[in-house]
Protein backbone atom coordinates (compact mmCIF):
# COMPACT_ATOMS: atom_id res chain seq x y z
CA UNK A 1 0.00 0.00 0.00
CA UNK A 2 1.38 3.37 -1.01
CA UNK A 3 0.28 6.38 0.99
CA UNK A 4 1.20 9.92 0.06
CA UNK A 5 0.57 12.94 2.24
CA UNK A 6 0.45 16.09 0.15
CA UNK A 7 1.35 19.39 1.72
CA UNK A 8 4.04 22.08 1.83
CA UNK A 9 4.73 21.79 5.53
CA UNK A 10 2.37 23.89 7.55
CA UNK A 11 1.02 22.68 10.91
CA UNK A 12 -2.06 20.95 9.46
CA UNK A 13 0.01 19.07 6.90
CA UNK A 14 2.40 17.84 9.58
CA UNK A 15 -0.55 16.80 11.74
CA UNK A 16 -1.98 14.83 8.82
CA UNK A 17 1.31 13.00 8.30
CA UNK A 18 1.49 12.16 12.00
CA UNK A 19 -2.09 10.83 12.02
CA UNK A 20 -1.43 8.76 8.90
CA UNK A 21 1.64 7.12 10.43
CA UNK A 22 -0.27 6.40 13.64
CA UNK A 23 -3.19 4.92 11.71
CA UNK A 24 -0.85 2.70 9.71
CA UNK A 25 0.72 1.20 12.83
CA UNK A 26 -2.69 0.84 14.51
CA UNK A 27 -4.23 -0.89 11.51
CA UNK A 28 -1.22 -3.16 11.28
CA UNK A 29 -0.99 -2.94 7.48
CA UNK A 30 2.21 -2.73 5.48
CA UNK A 31 2.40 0.64 3.82
CA UNK A 32 4.91 3.23 2.73
CA UNK A 33 4.15 6.77 3.82
CA UNK A 34 5.63 9.54 1.72
CA UNK A 35 5.34 13.29 2.26
CA UNK A 36 5.12 15.31 -0.91
CA UNK A 37 5.85 19.02 -0.61
CA UNK A 38 6.61 19.87 -4.19
CA UNK A 39 3.77 21.93 -5.68
CA UNK A 40 4.24 20.59 -9.16
CA UNK A 41 3.76 17.04 -7.94
CA UNK A 42 0.80 18.02 -5.76
CA UNK A 43 -0.89 19.71 -8.68
CA UNK A 44 -0.23 16.59 -10.72
CA UNK A 45 -2.71 14.70 -8.55
CA UNK A 46 -5.43 17.21 -9.32
CA UNK A 47 -5.26 18.44 -5.76
CA UNK A 48 -5.68 22.17 -5.20
CA UNK A 49 -5.92 22.54 -1.48
CA UNK A 50 -3.76 21.00 1.18
CA UNK A 51 -3.43 18.90 3.21
CA UNK A 52 -4.46 15.91 1.12
CA UNK A 53 -4.03 12.14 1.38
CA UNK A 54 -3.59 9.77 -1.56
CA UNK A 55 -3.75 5.97 -1.05
CA UNK A 56 -2.59 3.74 -3.92
CA UNK A 57 -3.03 6.61 -6.37
CA UNK A 58 -6.57 7.33 -5.24
CA UNK A 59 -7.25 10.74 -3.70
CA UNK A 60 -9.05 10.17 -0.40
CA UNK A 61 -9.30 13.55 1.25
CA UNK A 62 -8.54 17.10 0.19
CA UNK A 63 -8.21 20.38 2.05
CA UNK A 64 -8.56 19.16 5.62
CA UNK A 65 -7.01 16.93 8.24
CA UNK A 66 -8.73 13.54 8.05
CA UNK A 67 -10.07 11.84 11.16
CA UNK A 68 -8.27 8.81 12.56
CA UNK A 69 -11.41 6.71 12.07
CA UNK A 70 -11.67 7.71 8.39
CA UNK A 71 -8.00 6.82 7.90
CA UNK A 72 -8.44 3.47 9.60
CA UNK A 73 -11.45 2.59 7.46
CA UNK A 74 -9.54 3.45 4.28
CA UNK A 75 -6.53 1.41 5.36
CA UNK A 76 -8.54 -1.65 6.28
CA UNK A 77 -10.69 -1.61 3.13
Amino acid sequence: MEIKVLGPGCAKCKETEKLVREAVSEAGVTATVEKISDFQQIAGYGVFSTPAVVIDDEVKVVGKVPSKSDLLSWLKA
Binding site: E15, A43, T50
Partner: protein, 363 residues
Protein backbone atom coordinates in the same frame (compact mmCIF):
# COMPACT_ATOMS: atom_id res chain seq x y z
CA UNK B 1 -0.64 38.77 7.22
CA UNK B 2 -1.02 35.80 9.47
CA UNK B 3 2.10 33.66 9.82
CA UNK B 4 2.04 30.61 7.64
CA UNK B 5 0.04 28.49 10.05
CA UNK B 6 -3.25 27.35 8.63
CA UNK B 7 -5.51 29.15 11.00
CA UNK B 8 -8.68 28.55 9.08
CA UNK B 9 -8.00 25.07 7.70
CA UNK B 10 -10.93 22.80 8.38
CA UNK B 11 -9.71 20.24 10.87
CA UNK B 12 -12.99 18.45 10.49
CA UNK B 13 -13.28 14.94 11.75
CA UNK B 14 -16.29 12.99 10.62
CA UNK B 15 -17.60 10.19 12.76
CA UNK B 16 -19.49 7.29 11.23
CA UNK B 17 -22.86 6.99 12.90
CA UNK B 18 -26.05 5.10 12.30
CA UNK B 19 -29.18 7.19 11.64
CA UNK B 20 -30.53 6.80 15.22
CA UNK B 21 -27.45 8.01 17.08
CA UNK B 22 -26.99 10.68 14.42
CA UNK B 23 -30.38 12.21 15.07
CA UNK B 24 -29.94 11.91 18.82
CA UNK B 25 -26.70 13.85 18.68
CA UNK B 26 -28.24 16.58 16.57
CA UNK B 27 -31.18 16.92 18.95
CA UNK B 28 -28.79 17.27 21.87
CA UNK B 29 -26.81 19.98 20.10
CA UNK B 30 -29.91 21.95 19.18
CA UNK B 31 -31.28 21.66 22.72
CA UNK B 32 -28.08 23.13 24.11
CA UNK B 33 -27.95 25.93 21.57
CA UNK B 34 -30.73 28.19 22.89
CA UNK B 35 -29.66 28.19 26.57
CA UNK B 36 -26.02 28.69 25.54
CA UNK B 37 -26.94 31.77 23.55
CA UNK B 38 -28.98 33.15 26.43
CA UNK B 39 -26.14 32.64 28.89
CA UNK B 40 -23.77 34.29 26.40
CA UNK B 41 -26.05 37.29 26.08
CA UNK B 42 -26.46 37.68 29.84
CA UNK B 43 -22.75 37.48 30.57
CA UNK B 44 -22.01 39.93 27.77
CA UNK B 45 -24.45 42.44 29.21
CA UNK B 46 -22.95 42.20 32.68
CA UNK B 47 -19.41 42.96 31.57
CA UNK B 48 -19.28 46.77 31.99
CA UNK B 49 -20.62 46.55 35.54
CA UNK B 50 -18.40 43.59 36.30
CA UNK B 51 -15.23 45.32 35.13
CA UNK B 52 -16.00 48.41 37.18
CA UNK B 53 -16.74 46.29 40.24
CA UNK B 54 -13.50 44.40 39.86
CA UNK B 55 -11.34 47.48 39.35
CA UNK B 56 -12.78 49.89 41.88
CA UNK B 57 -14.37 47.68 44.53
CA UNK B 58 -12.33 44.52 44.60
CA UNK B 59 -8.95 46.02 43.77
CA UNK B 60 -9.73 49.35 45.36
CA UNK B 61 -8.11 51.45 42.66
CA UNK B 62 -8.97 55.14 42.56
CA UNK B 63 -11.43 56.26 39.89
CA UNK B 64 -9.96 58.41 37.15
CA UNK B 65 -6.41 57.24 37.85
CA UNK B 66 -4.19 55.88 35.06
CA UNK B 67 -4.18 52.44 36.65
CA UNK B 68 -7.95 52.54 37.08
CA UNK B 69 -8.49 53.40 33.42
CA UNK B 70 -6.12 50.68 32.26
CA UNK B 71 -7.56 47.99 34.49
CA UNK B 72 -11.17 48.80 33.71
CA UNK B 73 -10.33 48.61 29.99
CA UNK B 74 -8.53 45.31 30.48
CA UNK B 75 -11.26 43.64 32.54
CA UNK B 76 -14.00 44.81 30.24
CA UNK B 77 -12.43 44.20 26.86
CA UNK B 78 -10.73 40.87 27.41
CA UNK B 79 -13.84 38.80 28.18
CA UNK B 80 -15.90 40.87 25.76
CA UNK B 81 -13.61 40.17 22.84
CA UNK B 82 -13.20 36.52 23.76
CA UNK B 83 -16.98 36.09 23.94
CA UNK B 84 -17.51 37.77 20.59
CA UNK B 85 -14.73 35.76 19.05
CA UNK B 86 -16.20 32.47 20.25
CA UNK B 87 -19.63 33.30 18.85
CA UNK B 88 -18.45 34.55 15.50
CA UNK B 89 -15.86 31.84 14.92
CA UNK B 90 -18.54 29.26 15.65
CA UNK B 91 -20.96 30.88 13.23
CA UNK B 92 -18.38 31.38 10.50
CA UNK B 93 -17.13 27.83 11.05
CA UNK B 94 -20.60 26.57 10.19
CA UNK B 95 -20.97 28.89 7.20
CA UNK B 96 -17.60 27.67 5.92
CA UNK B 97 -18.84 24.09 5.78
CA UNK B 98 -21.06 25.15 2.90
CA UNK B 99 -18.13 26.33 0.85
CA UNK B 100 -15.12 24.47 -0.44
CA UNK B 101 -12.24 25.69 -2.62
CA UNK B 102 -13.36 23.14 -5.22
CA UNK B 103 -16.88 24.58 -5.40
CA UNK B 104 -15.56 28.14 -5.50
CA UNK B 105 -13.26 27.10 -8.29
CA UNK B 106 -16.19 25.72 -10.30
CA UNK B 107 -18.26 28.82 -9.70
CA UNK B 108 -15.51 31.18 -10.79
CA UNK B 109 -14.29 29.21 -13.81
CA UNK B 110 -14.94 31.10 -17.00
CA UNK B 111 -16.51 34.11 -15.31
CA UNK B 112 -15.74 37.44 -16.94
CA UNK B 113 -13.67 40.04 -15.19
CA UNK B 114 -15.56 42.66 -13.12
CA UNK B 115 -18.41 40.32 -12.13
CA UNK B 116 -15.82 37.64 -11.49
CA UNK B 117 -13.69 39.99 -9.39
CA UNK B 118 -16.63 40.88 -7.18
CA UNK B 119 -17.69 37.25 -6.73
CA UNK B 120 -14.14 36.15 -6.04
CA UNK B 121 -13.65 38.81 -3.39
CA UNK B 122 -16.92 37.85 -1.70
CA UNK B 123 -16.19 34.15 -1.89
CA UNK B 124 -12.75 34.81 -0.41
CA UNK B 125 -14.41 35.71 2.86
CA UNK B 126 -16.44 32.51 3.24
CA UNK B 127 -14.35 29.86 1.54
CA UNK B 128 -12.09 28.05 3.97
CA UNK B 129 -8.63 29.06 2.97
CA UNK B 130 -5.33 28.06 4.37
CA UNK B 131 -2.28 30.20 3.61
CA UNK B 132 -0.35 27.07 2.82
CA UNK B 133 -2.93 26.32 0.13
CA UNK B 134 -2.26 29.61 -1.65
CA UNK B 135 -0.06 28.00 -4.28
CA UNK B 136 -2.16 24.90 -4.97
CA UNK B 137 -5.21 27.12 -5.04
CA UNK B 138 -3.63 29.50 -7.53
CA UNK B 139 -2.72 26.60 -9.79
CA UNK B 140 -6.17 25.10 -9.41
CA UNK B 141 -8.00 28.28 -10.28
CA UNK B 142 -5.81 29.18 -13.20
CA UNK B 143 -5.93 25.73 -14.76
CA UNK B 144 -9.71 25.61 -14.38
CA UNK B 145 -10.06 28.68 -16.53
CA UNK B 146 -10.55 31.28 -13.81
CA UNK B 147 -9.09 34.56 -15.15
CA UNK B 148 -5.92 35.62 -13.36
CA UNK B 149 -7.34 38.89 -12.14
CA UNK B 150 -10.28 37.05 -10.59
CA UNK B 151 -7.91 34.61 -8.90
CA UNK B 152 -5.99 37.52 -7.45
CA UNK B 153 -9.16 39.10 -6.10
CA UNK B 154 -9.76 35.88 -4.21
CA UNK B 155 -6.18 35.64 -2.98
CA UNK B 156 -6.26 39.20 -1.68
CA UNK B 157 -9.63 39.06 0.04
CA UNK B 158 -9.20 35.63 1.66
CA UNK B 159 -6.47 36.50 4.14
CA UNK B 160 -7.31 40.17 4.49
CA UNK B 161 -11.02 40.10 5.17
CA UNK B 162 -11.05 37.62 7.99
CA UNK B 163 -13.68 37.13 10.63
CA UNK B 164 -11.26 37.50 13.51
CA UNK B 165 -10.25 40.98 12.40
CA UNK B 166 -13.89 41.92 11.91
CA UNK B 167 -14.97 40.65 15.32
CA UNK B 168 -12.17 42.45 17.05
CA UNK B 169 -12.80 45.69 15.20
CA UNK B 170 -16.48 45.48 16.05
CA UNK B 171 -15.82 44.63 19.67
CA UNK B 172 -13.27 47.34 20.25
CA UNK B 173 -14.22 50.06 17.79
CA UNK B 174 -17.86 49.59 16.98
CA UNK B 175 -19.73 48.33 13.96
CA UNK B 176 -18.94 51.33 11.79
CA UNK B 177 -15.20 50.72 11.76
CA UNK B 178 -15.74 47.00 11.26
CA UNK B 179 -18.07 47.68 8.34
CA UNK B 180 -15.54 50.13 6.90
CA UNK B 181 -12.79 47.56 7.08
CA UNK B 182 -15.01 44.98 5.40
CA UNK B 183 -16.04 47.39 2.66
CA UNK B 184 -12.61 48.75 1.91
CA UNK B 185 -11.03 45.31 2.13
CA UNK B 186 -13.42 44.04 -0.52
CA UNK B 187 -12.87 47.19 -2.52
CA UNK B 188 -9.11 46.76 -2.56
CA UNK B 189 -9.47 43.06 -3.42
CA UNK B 190 -11.84 43.77 -6.31
CA UNK B 191 -9.98 46.78 -7.69
CA UNK B 192 -6.47 45.36 -7.35
CA UNK B 193 -7.58 42.06 -8.88
CA UNK B 194 -9.26 43.84 -11.75
CA UNK B 195 -6.21 46.02 -12.43
CA UNK B 196 -3.90 43.02 -12.26
CA UNK B 197 -6.16 41.23 -14.73
CA UNK B 198 -5.91 44.12 -17.17
CA UNK B 199 -2.13 44.11 -17.03
CA UNK B 200 -1.92 40.79 -18.91
CA UNK B 201 0.55 39.20 -16.58
CA UNK B 202 0.08 35.60 -17.79
CA UNK B 203 3.63 35.48 -19.24
CA UNK B 204 4.99 36.02 -15.73
CA UNK B 205 3.50 32.86 -14.30
CA UNK B 206 6.01 30.02 -14.13
CA UNK B 207 5.79 27.95 -17.31
CA UNK B 208 5.15 24.59 -15.70
CA UNK B 209 1.89 25.85 -14.17
CA UNK B 210 0.20 26.45 -17.47
CA UNK B 211 1.18 22.98 -18.68
CA UNK B 212 -0.78 21.18 -16.00
CA UNK B 213 -3.72 19.17 -17.22
CA UNK B 214 -5.70 17.27 -14.64
CA UNK B 215 -9.18 15.94 -14.23
CA UNK B 216 -10.97 17.95 -11.50
CA UNK B 217 -13.53 15.23 -10.89
CA UNK B 218 -10.88 13.07 -9.25
CA UNK B 219 -11.43 14.82 -5.93
CA UNK B 220 -14.00 13.14 -3.64
CA UNK B 221 -17.22 15.07 -3.01
CA UNK B 222 -17.98 15.83 0.60
CA UNK B 223 -21.44 15.22 2.02
CA UNK B 224 -22.12 16.71 5.43
CA UNK B 225 -24.99 16.43 7.87
CA UNK B 226 -26.01 19.21 10.21
CA UNK B 227 -24.35 17.37 13.06
CA UNK B 228 -21.11 17.46 11.08
CA UNK B 229 -21.55 21.17 10.48
CA UNK B 230 -22.15 21.99 14.13
CA UNK B 231 -19.16 19.89 15.10
CA UNK B 232 -17.10 21.74 12.52
CA UNK B 233 -18.13 25.00 14.14
CA UNK B 234 -17.21 23.75 17.60
CA UNK B 235 -13.90 22.46 16.28
CA UNK B 236 -13.21 25.85 14.70
CA UNK B 237 -13.76 27.51 18.07
CA UNK B 238 -11.41 25.08 19.78
CA UNK B 239 -8.73 25.47 17.13
CA UNK B 240 -8.91 29.17 16.41
CA UNK B 241 -9.85 30.65 19.77
CA UNK B 242 -7.57 28.14 21.43
CA UNK B 243 -4.69 29.35 19.36
CA UNK B 244 -5.44 33.03 19.24
CA UNK B 245 -6.65 33.92 22.73
CA UNK B 246 -3.18 34.59 24.07
CA UNK B 247 -2.52 37.14 21.34
CA UNK B 248 -5.84 38.79 22.13
CA UNK B 249 -5.01 39.07 25.83
CA UNK B 250 -1.52 40.41 25.14
CA UNK B 251 -2.83 42.81 22.54
CA UNK B 252 -5.51 44.11 24.87
CA UNK B 253 -2.99 44.43 27.69
CA UNK B 254 -0.79 46.57 25.46
CA UNK B 255 -3.85 48.51 24.41
CA UNK B 256 -4.85 48.95 28.03
CA UNK B 257 -1.42 50.32 28.84
CA UNK B 258 -1.58 52.80 25.99
CA UNK B 259 -5.15 53.64 26.98
CA UNK B 260 -4.27 54.48 30.55
CA UNK B 261 -0.82 55.94 30.28
CA UNK B 262 -0.16 57.54 26.92
CA UNK B 263 -1.47 61.11 26.84
CA UNK B 264 -4.32 61.97 24.48
CA UNK B 265 -3.25 63.33 21.15
CA UNK B 266 0.23 61.85 21.46
CA UNK B 267 -0.14 59.81 18.29
CA UNK B 268 -1.60 62.76 16.41
CA UNK B 269 1.84 64.14 15.65
CA UNK B 270 3.12 60.87 14.17
CA UNK B 271 0.06 59.22 12.74
CA UNK B 272 -2.42 62.08 12.61
CA UNK B 273 -4.07 63.57 9.58
CA UNK B 274 -1.63 66.44 9.40
CA UNK B 275 1.30 64.13 8.66
CA UNK B 276 0.65 63.37 4.96
CA UNK B 277 3.62 61.06 4.77
CA UNK B 278 2.19 58.89 7.52
CA UNK B 279 -0.03 56.85 5.16
CA UNK B 280 2.73 55.63 2.81
CA UNK B 281 4.98 55.12 5.83
CA UNK B 282 2.28 53.03 7.50
CA UNK B 283 1.93 50.85 4.39
CA UNK B 284 5.70 50.39 4.06
CA UNK B 285 6.16 49.58 7.73
CA UNK B 286 3.40 47.00 7.46
CA UNK B 287 4.98 44.97 4.66
CA UNK B 288 7.78 43.20 6.53
CA UNK B 289 5.50 42.76 9.52
CA UNK B 290 3.21 39.86 9.82
CA UNK B 291 0.84 39.39 12.62
CA UNK B 292 -2.44 37.73 13.10
CA UNK B 293 -5.41 40.03 13.30
CA UNK B 294 -6.01 39.11 16.90
CA UNK B 295 -2.81 40.70 18.08
CA UNK B 296 -2.90 43.84 16.05
CA UNK B 297 -6.44 45.11 16.42
CA UNK B 298 -6.25 46.00 20.13
CA UNK B 299 -3.10 47.97 19.40
CA UNK B 300 -4.88 49.66 16.52
CA UNK B 301 -7.68 50.62 18.85
CA UNK B 302 -5.35 52.16 21.35
CA UNK B 303 -3.50 54.11 18.66
CA UNK B 304 -6.77 55.49 17.39
CA UNK B 305 -7.72 56.50 20.89
CA UNK B 306 -4.56 58.55 21.13
CA UNK B 307 -5.13 60.62 18.03
CA UNK B 308 -3.86 58.52 15.14
CA UNK B 309 -5.91 59.14 12.00
CA UNK B 310 -8.31 56.38 10.98
CA UNK B 311 -7.04 56.17 7.40
CA UNK B 312 -3.42 55.77 8.46
CA UNK B 313 -4.25 53.10 10.99
CA UNK B 314 -6.49 51.14 8.59
CA UNK B 315 -3.76 51.29 5.94
CA UNK B 316 -1.25 49.97 8.44
CA UNK B 317 -3.50 47.11 9.50
CA UNK B 318 -4.30 46.08 5.94
CA UNK B 319 -0.66 46.22 4.97
CA UNK B 320 0.37 44.01 7.87
CA UNK B 321 -2.30 41.44 7.09
CA UNK B 322 -2.46 41.47 3.30
CA UNK B 323 1.13 42.10 2.26
CA UNK B 324 3.46 39.65 3.86
CA UNK B 325 6.99 38.73 2.95
CA UNK B 326 6.57 35.04 3.83
CA UNK B 327 3.53 34.67 1.57
CA UNK B 328 5.36 36.36 -1.28
CA UNK B 329 8.31 34.02 -0.83
CA UNK B 330 5.95 31.08 -1.16
CA UNK B 331 4.22 32.55 -4.21
CA UNK B 332 7.64 32.71 -5.86
CA UNK B 333 7.15 29.03 -6.65
CA UNK B 334 4.43 29.85 -9.14
CA UNK B 335 4.94 33.51 -9.97
CA UNK B 336 8.00 35.13 -11.48
CA UNK B 337 9.54 37.96 -9.42
CA UNK B 338 8.18 40.69 -11.65
CA UNK B 339 4.62 39.50 -11.11
CA UNK B 340 5.10 39.34 -7.36
CA UNK B 341 6.40 42.91 -7.33
CA UNK B 342 3.53 44.12 -9.47
CA UNK B 343 1.11 42.30 -7.19
CA UNK B 344 2.58 43.91 -4.06
CA UNK B 345 2.67 47.26 -5.81
CA UNK B 346 -0.93 47.23 -6.94
CA UNK B 347 -2.26 46.02 -3.60
CA UNK B 348 -0.05 48.52 -1.80
CA UNK B 349 -1.39 51.34 -3.94
CA UNK B 350 -4.94 50.23 -3.26
CA UNK B 351 -4.32 50.31 0.46
CA UNK B 352 -2.65 53.71 0.13
CA UNK B 353 -5.70 55.02 -1.68
CA UNK B 354 -7.97 53.76 1.09
CA UNK B 355 -5.78 55.41 3.69
CA UNK B 356 -5.81 58.82 2.06
CA UNK B 357 -9.49 58.61 1.24
CA UNK B 358 -10.37 57.98 4.85
CA UNK B 359 -8.18 60.69 6.24
CA UNK B 360 -9.72 63.13 3.81
CA UNK B 361 -13.32 62.13 4.34
CA UNK B 362 -13.65 61.30 8.01
CA UNK B 363 -13.79 64.40 10.15
Amino acid sequence: MEPIGCKSCCAKKTVDEGPVTGKGKLARYLLLLAPSLIVWWLVYGMLPGFSRLLTYQVFGVAQGSHLGDSLEFLFYDTPKVLLLLTLVVFGVGIIRTFFTPERTRKVLAGKRESAGNVMAALLGIVTPFCSCSAVPLFIGFVTAGVPMGVTFSFLISAPMVNEIALVLLYGLLGWKVAALYLGTGLFVAILAGWVLGKLNLEPYVEDWVMKIRTDPSVVPVDEQTWTDRIEAGLRAVKDIVGKVWIYVVVGIAVGAGIHGYVPEGFMASIMGKGAWWSVPAAVLVGIPMYSNAAGIVPVVEALLGKGAALGTVLAFMMSVIALSLPEMVILRKVLKPRLILVFAGVVGLGILLVGYLFNAVIA
